[in-house]
């Protein structure tokens, strides 16, 4: 499904990614871990064309991702959430989710301004879909609330809803458990499992919460200083000495 090879990104003197290569099979749930500044988010940014890769290639199915325009990434079925939240603060929660469905609608300026019947139908369809999603993620009560001033955990869930509204095949989650308490992490884990099964998702998740990563992932990749230092089952990675030294620390 996804094939990354030799991916290198540099910023001035820093090499944020250094010849990283791996593949992800359809349906897999891959955990991406590594110390702070290892390049995890940078990798996501390359996958969604936020950053320009200096070397290497990324293929998604038959497409060379690096030659796709940033806005067209979502059309290939790739959606993501952001580490530091990337919501639209002045829009309602519902509208945030509807923006997620942008790529599944066709209305243009003129047809929308004239409110052609096709646009009306499309809006109705998107509306129902969004409401279903909100319902599914327990956000109905805050649907009309602007996406600011809600607790951090709720905001993270809205981001997930928005990403799901794009009906992705590949979902990239950047630290989804941030700010969740222990119990909430468990709930989220359950939710993610269900959604993944329902929607046949391939997921890459960056997370520092080891309980979550080890519990849910089929496979874990560990980066350090932009290099891949481990790639295997959770158990393998957890016992890898390099990973322990660089990331988990002795206590883990």
């Amino acid at each position: 499904m996804l094939e990354v090879s030799g991916l290198t990104v540099r910023f001035g003197g820093i090499t944020a990614l250094d010849h990283v290569g791996f593949t992800v099979d359809a349906g897999q749930l891959v955990g991406l871990i590594g110390p702070n500044g290892a390049g995890k988010t940078t990798l996501f940014n390359c996958l969604t064309r936020r950053y320009q890769a200096d070397e290497g290639s990324i293929r998604c199915g038959d497409t060379d991702l690096l030659s796709v325009a940033p806005h067209a990434i979502v059309e290939l079925g790739i959606a993501r959430t952001f580490q530091n939240l990337g919501l639209f603060p002045q829009l309602s929660v519902r509208d945030n989710v509807l923006v997620g469905a942008h790529s599944h609608a066709r209305a243009g300026f003129l047809s929308a301004a004239l409110r052609l019947p096709s646009v009306r139908r499309e809006e109705a369809r998107l509306g129902t879909e969004a409401d279903d999603l909100l319902d599914r993620l327990g956000l109905t009560a805050v649907a009309e609330h602007p996406a600011t001033g809600l607790p951090f955990g709720t905001l993270k869930r809205i981001e997930l809803a928005r990403a799901l509204a794009a009906r992705p095949k590949l979902l990239l989650l950047d630290e989804p458990c941030n700010g969740l308490s222990h119990g909430e992490v468990d709930e989220f884990e359950a939710l993610l499992r269900e959604i993944r099964a329902e929607r046949d998702l391939t997921v890459i998740v960056v997370e520092h919460h080891m309980g979550f990563v080890m519990g849910i992932c089929d496979r874990v990749i560990c980066l350090e200083f932009g290099r891949k230092i481990a790639d295997g089952t959770p158990a393998e990675v957890q016992n890898d000495q390099a990973v322990r030294d660089a990331y988990l620390g002795t206590a883990a």
Partner: protein, 346 residues
């Protein structure tokens, strides 16, 4: 000892704000209120020209003209989040397109409206290209310089534009069947165009397009990740915004029957921006309130102090921003909600 504040340990509490089984989605009274206001406005708008003196009708016509331009500016600034300090230029281009067609080709005046819209759409699309790269302040200042540049440019092509003398035209006569006076007829023309554009913009904003504009205003990166094609939406927002300002320019030509470069100096652009900020960025009725501001407040200022109307106008502008930092529409909305709350409490 653990200090127990509750006697019974409750099961894990639900998250604080969202209750698990929600009440039916909240419908804000605001929404119903907006429909009520709209209905009221339509009635008032249709009755007014038969009740008011011709001069007042003329003033309302001008309010509508400015409101139309502000509708466009609101789309760009309020909804797409790009600042233009040069919208007077599009207003001018619309006005000149109409005037030139009337003067040189004797075109039927109604035809000049779509023509003006087409021309300004094209120009706006072209000028939207810098808007792709520039943000906020930089875009504002570049558009301002473009507006300033337009004035000598209009003077340069004297044979077409009439140079600095401008073009003097005559006002369209009402068709006999209407039985309307000229002012009334112009008023209804302006009303029809403004209302139609208002409805179109309203529809536009309540669609995927509107949401995409809002999204790119709030967070460009996230919008692009969600599939919003920034270049397309930004240039089109610019073009549509220019087109509406151009439409306002064309109607302005019908009403004023005179165009000259001096009619469209940087002052106009600045007044338009002030108008939409005062009216309320991103609000439904902001353009209308802004239009009223542009027309009435300078008059009010000279009523207060004729020796230096600018002093009064400047003070008024600053005061309005104190009282309503998010615009008059926001202020009206707040007042409305307050009233509703008061009624509920009783």
């Amino acid at each position: 000892m653990t200090e127990r504040i509750l006697d019974v340990v409750p099961p894990r509490a639900e998250p604080a704000s969202p209750p698990a089984t929600p009440a039916p989605p909240v419908r804000y009274p605001r929404v119903r209120l907006r429909w009520a206001i709209t209905a009221l406005l339509v009635v008032v708008a249709c009755v007014a020209p038969f009740q008011l003196a011709p001069f007042r009708v003329f003033q309302l016509t001008m309010v509508l003209v400015y409101a139309l331009a502000l509708l466009g500016l609101n789309l760009l600034v309020g909804h797409a989040g790009q600042i233009s300090l040069g919208h007077g230029a599009f207003f001018a281009i619309g006005a000149y397109t109409s005037a030139v067609m009337l003067e040189h080709w004797d075109a039927p005046y109604l035809l000049t409206l779509p023509a003006a819209m087409l021309v300004t759409f094209g120009v706006g699309f072209g000028l939207g290209v810098p808007a792709l790269r520039l943000r906020g302040l930089y875009l504002a200042l570049v558009t301002m310089t473009i507006a300033i540049f337009l004035v000598p440019l209009l003077k340069r092509f004297e044979s077409v534009t009439g140079g600095s003398m401008g073009l003097t035209l005559s006002r369209p006569r009402p068709p006999a069947w209407t039985g309307l006076a000229e002012d009334q007829w112009l008023y209804f023309l302006a009303l029809a165009v403004t209302a139609a554009c208002g409805v179109a913009v309203w529809c536009l904003l309540r669609s995927r397009v509107g949401r995409a504009l809002h999204a790119l205003r709030d967070n460009e990166t996230a919008a692009e990740v969600m599939g919003v094609r920034l270049s397309r939406y930004k240039t089109l927002a610019f073009a549509w915004s220019a087109m509406l300002a151009g439409a306002a320019g064309a109607v302005n030509t019908w009403v004023i029957a005179f165009v000259s470069p001096d009619s469209f100096t940087a002052t106009l652009s600045i007044m338009l921006l002030a108008g939409i900020v005062v009216g309320g960025l991103g609000s439904t009725f902001g353009p209308l309130l802004g239009g009223a501001f542009v027309l009435f407040v300078p008059t009010l200022a000279q009523g207060v102090n004729q020796a230096a109307p600018g002093v009064v106008f400047g003070v008024l502008l600053i005061l309005i921003m104190y009282v309503a930092p998010t615009g008059l529409a926001g202020l009206a909305g707040r007042a409305g909600r307050f009233a509703i709350q008061l009624r509920r409490k009783k």
